[in-house]
Amino acid sequence: MLFEYELLRRIPEYKSNGIIDAQSAERLSKHLNESLAGWRPLFSGSIYFAGIILLEVSACFFAVNIWDGLPRAGRLALAFVPLIISAVYGMFVLLKNFGGLFRESAAVVNIISVGVLICASNGALNISGNFHSFSVEMMCFSLALTFLFNSNFAAATTVVWCAIFSNSFHNGYSWGVYDALFALAFFLAVFIFAARGWSKAEVLRTILGYIVCACAPFTVNGCAEIILKCSLEDGSRYYELFPWVFHFCAPAGLGSIMLLAAGRGRFHSLPVFRMPYFFVGLILSAILLVQLNTSRLFENALSKSLDCYLKIWEIEPLSGAVLTLILFAVFAGWAAMFTASLLLRKHGDWGISVLSLMFPLWLAAVFTSGDRYLVFAAASNIIFFISASVFAFSGIGRRNFFLLNVGVVMLVFQGMVRVMNSDIEVVFRAVFFGVCGIILMLFNWLLSVRKGVSK
């Protein structure tokens, strides 16, 4: 939309310079005006947005200033003032059908107001803070505002809170299975909200996509841990039985699925910045490569995993069933997406499909007690190398810098992992990195030359 807007702005200039004739200028203007109907540049309303936020902050400071001299009832009443402001503003925005940043600002103002209201009323009445109920309330209100105002800020608030909430289990809070399911359901709702708009050229929705993808592994991991720990009769036994397994299970599965999701048709039609799942999946696959190639990590994390898995079935069949169900669901999701990516492969994205094989390889390492380090290290390197090569060559073939650089960066990363795990001299390591840098520059120069020749 930004391109159409810019083009529309320049039509008079092109017309006066004689680049296009009057008739074409009129037709083009009409077409562009139609396609830009209802669209506003992102920052056109940013002054209003900043103004509303400043007003809200000013109201809060004003309240703090007169707080001292007020009785308890007065403080409680004053705590409602920001909410009233946000109510009036939100109603105005909704009834006047304002869009874009007005709606975003209305949602933000309401979230801030509720937070201030809860904290201020708790302070006025000496109610001790309860992080659990505060989180639940904020998540509920943020999710409602997400859909009411179609707000990316509210969605981001919800999803970040889901990640914090599901990982606060370690801090002595008594979370239960329902809390984990609650966080997962909220995360899923925001995920769907965000995924609906990833293909659109909206900056805020794209930023939301990155936030959602970054929070995904943390949320799923935290929730899986809560479910498993709560299903054990003696929760503290969790740490005996599962020293490492879940720390990688959820991210690995989720990352692989997201990586594959990137390969379903739209891969080449979307600009790079609108593929958050691709980047998150790539990073998680790189983490798996490190784990499968570092002997100490491999032994610590994977060697005891089969024993733990069998032991938990003996001690707590219910926990064993929950764990099996989670692993099976993740694997089934991966298998379905893998099959779909092969069947729907329109652009020859072999790189993604091959790279996603890191996940079943990691699962195989878990279920073979991780006692064949060399086999898994070799297999993971072969998969990573083939995937990287496919990315690099398809980048050269299609004259695409992004694909080329993804492939080269993967190759460099793989080399770094191998070099770090070998007992070779520092000088050789230095040479290796130097060579990698030259390769990176050389490949890009070659592609520039090819592009130049083709022009």
């Binding site: 707080w67 001292d68 001299g69 409680l76 705590a79 409602f80 909410l83 109510a87 939100g90 109603m91 909704l94 009834l95 006047k96 059908n97 309401n110 509720v114 209201l117 809860i118 009323s121 708790n122 302070g123 006025a124 009445l125 000496n126 109610i127 001790s128 803070g129 309330e137 509920c140 209100f141 409602a144 505002l145 859909f147 009411l148 105002f149 179609n150 002595g172 008594s174 003696d234 929760g235 503290s236």
Partner: protein, 221 residues
């Protein structure tokens, strides 16, 4: 949501829910303050101001744990104790805080009028009236006397007291700090006055050496 009126209606519901949640909690707290039973809880480590976490306008004293004789067996506590018994150096004090156990505790008053745990149950509904639910941190089998370990006749459960937060205005805090400056750190003894009803605990006052902070805050001589 494209339909502005429908969206506004739904937004009104959200606003009502937001206000409702806060009002419900406020009315509940007021009910506890007005109709709850009053108890005094000891604070430990009443040394300097930072020990009370006195920041901005909040005073958060460190509460002393309550102790109760370990009679009725609690399975997760027993599991931790049986593990500890296998280790060298037992009898010792066993940390059971990892198990996240909360007991329904009936409160009474000791000779000085401070709250003490009279009885407990892990099933508060089935064992008479419980005043408050408290987490179990430790099961003590020994006490220390000058570095010497002395086994206790009966094991004792140490229960955590809920976090107490008291909010004061900045002017009030200045008065409180001025009062505290006049008292030797080592001689400070503090307690929190709280009201309890239906398992909810709301602190209403904090006192050091018998002087109420509410009185100091109000500027009374």
């Amino acid at each position: 949501m494209k339909n502005g009126r429908l969206a506004a209606l739904l937004f009104a519901f959200v606003l009502a829910a937001e206000a409702g949640v806060v009002l419900f909690r406020a009315f509940e707290a007021v009910d506890v303050v007005e109709n709850g039973e009053e108890f005094m809880f000891r604070c430990e480590n009443v040394g300097n101001i930072s020990n009370w976490n006195m920041r901005n306008s909040k005073v958060v004293p460190q509460m002393a744990e309550l102790a109760v004789e370990y009679g009725e067996k609690i399975p997760p506590v027993e599991a931790e104790i049986s593990k500890a018994k296998k280790k060298k150096g037992f009898p010792s004090n066993v940390y059971v805080g990892n198990c996240n156990i909360k007991l329904g505790v009936k409160l009474g008053r000791d000779a000085e009028g401070f709250a003490k745990a009279v009885s407990y149950s892990d099933n508060p509904a089935g064992a008479g009236r419980a005043d408050v639910k408290l987490p179990v941190w430790w099961c003590n089998f020994v006490r220390y006397d000058g570095g010497k370990k002395i086994p206790l006749e009966h094991a004792v459960l140490r229960l955590g007291v809920p976090r107490m937060e008291l909010t004061y205005s900045r002017t009030a805090l200045e008065r409180i700090k001025k009062y505290l400056k006049g008292i030797d750190i080592k001689k400070r003894k503090g307690y929190v006055v709280a009201r309890i009803k239906g398992g909810r605990v709301i602190p209403v006052d904090f006192a050091v050496n018998g002087k109420s902070f509410n009185e100091i805050a109000s500027g009374k001589p």
